[in-house]
Amino acid sequence: MVRIIQEVEPTCFEQAVGNPKWDNAMDEEMAALDANATWELVALPEDKKAIGCKWVYKVKHNANGSVSKYKARLVAKGYAQTYGIDYEETYSPVAKMTTIKTIIAMAVAKGWSLHQMDVKNVFLHGDLHEEVYMEQPPGYVDQTHPNLVCGLKKALYDLKQAPKAWSNKIC
């Protein structure tokens, strides 16, 4: 019953790079960001600041404890954003646990079937209305334009407004 091998998750890019599992995971994330047109490379306007970004690594497990996936996620350093300049509204609703239980109880009692889906790269779906600039991701700096920054078009994980941008899109 006990999970014997606990995979070590790297804490920064330097620790992960060179390991094929994590390199793959990062390539996958970059491909998703590209396909989604999350940003375009632009010169940073003089009066703007670019926020940093970093890689976060996570080993995902199945319900039985076995490894299901190696996941690399590019996150923006949202804590460097300033209210009123980089973001405004941040509230986004999620379902209450009681609501979820009530709906499940109701579905069971009525004999309805229950299904599940998940959204890939959920926050990347949200459109960004504010102007946000971010440094190029570690390991994936454009060699021909190393001085340009990412002008964000879509929300990115850990941006203050990311959850809000997503809930606006779906509701």
Partner: protein, 342 residues
């Protein structure tokens, strides 16, 4: 939620996780197809694992349990080898804020608290105990950590327990409310608890220290009942949003006769004049025939689980009344048999 002539489809969204249900499978599949076109989505089929909660579907009903989550946490805190224990907290133990030496690793204490609070999603039998130990998060001391370990050992004992919702059941809502007067030795505040079950299993419950000091046990029970009535109002709203009829009177069980009398009879009394606001709120709902407060014997008062540590026999009995049962997949075995945890 979408309602059409062909039926009803409900989507629950928790950031990137979606639960979809409805009375017509064709509609569900159409919706899935539509969602897949619009967003990049993965169809995970039948609901099985959601926010670290296992969902076990069987023809008899559905279990929600956090077995794997609990096991991971026990491993994380090096508790897998511990001796399991039958009750979450010793009876009659009163913990206060000033108990002795400070715990060395306060961050760990707080982290365990977070995990325990998450565990109460499917485990009403832990609510009171977790509520008690979480009151010492600011300055956790050795006896508090001992109590936390006690809870973890109980969790090990009840790893296979989860909430069970029986299939094809009557959708009757009923609630229980209870309170202990001056339960907290340090600040003399009282704890109130309630639970609501919907069909066969509990869906909503709470064990919470009241924000103000109460002058009598009647007042305490009365305020507790007011909290329940708020929950009823919300639950009825939710059910009507889900397309269910909510005309039926909701029965709430309470073991305090004087607070029931007070709610039903508008007599002015010098000892109750200061609780006027609560009083009007419940009265209005009773007059509108939305709820009915009914007396229940303490023996059958399941909300007792939220206001004090119970002995093993009562704990087992109430756990069963909540629908907290051991997962049992032998489909021929009756639900009754699967509930004995020992």
């Amino acid at each position: 939620m979408k309602k059409t002539d062909h039926g009803i489809v409900i989507i629950v969204i928790y950031v990137d996780d979606l639960i979809i249900t409805g009375n017509n499978d064709a509609n569900i599949f159409d919706l899935k197809k539509l969602l897949k076109q619009k967003f990049e989505m993965k169809d995970l089929g039948e609901l099985r694992y959601f926010l670290d909660i296992e969902v076990i579907q069987s023809p008899k009903g559905i279990w929600l349990l956090q077995r794997q989550y609990a096991l991971n946490k026990l491993t994380e805190y090096g508790m897998t080898g511990c001796k399991s224990i039958l009750i979450p907290l010793e009876q009659n133990v009163k913990l206060s804020a000033d108990e002795g030496d400070l715990v060395e690793d306060t961050t760990m204490y707080r982290r365990i608290m977070g995990n325990l609070i998450y565990m109460t999603i499917t485990r009403p039998d832990l609510s009171y105990e977790v509520g008690v130990v979480s009151q010492f998060m600011q300055t956790p001391q050795k006896p508090h950590l001992d109590a936390v370990r006690h809870i973890l050992r109980y969790i090990k004992h009840t790893l296979q327990c989860g909430i069970f919702y029986e299939a094809k059941n009557q959708l009757q809502v009923h609630g229980y409310t209870n309170a202990n007067w001056v339960g907290n030795v340090s600040d003399r505040r009282s704890t109130s608890g309630f639970m609501f079950s919907f069909g066969s299993g509990a869906v909503s419950w709470s064990s919470k220290k009241q924000p103000t000091v109460a002058l009598s046990s009647t007042e305490v029970e009365y305020k507790s009942a007011a909290i329940v009535v708020c929950e009823v109002v919300w639950l009825q709203k939710l059910l009507s949003d889900l397309g269910q009829s909510v005309d039926a009177l909701v029965v709430i069980y309470c073991d305090n006769i004087s607070s029931i009398l007070l709610a039903n009879n508008p007599i002015y009394h010098v000892k109750t004049k200061h609780i006027e606001v609560h009083y009007h709120f419940i009265r209005k709902k009773i007059l509108a025939k939305k709820i009915n407060l009914i007396h229940v014997n303490t023996e059958n008062q399941v909300a007792n689980i939220f206001i004090k540590a119970l002995g093993i026999n009562k704990l087992r009995k109430f756990r069963k009344m909540f629908g907290v049962l051991e997962v049992n997949l032998s489909l021929r075995g009756s639900v009754e048999n699967s509930s004995s945890t020992s």
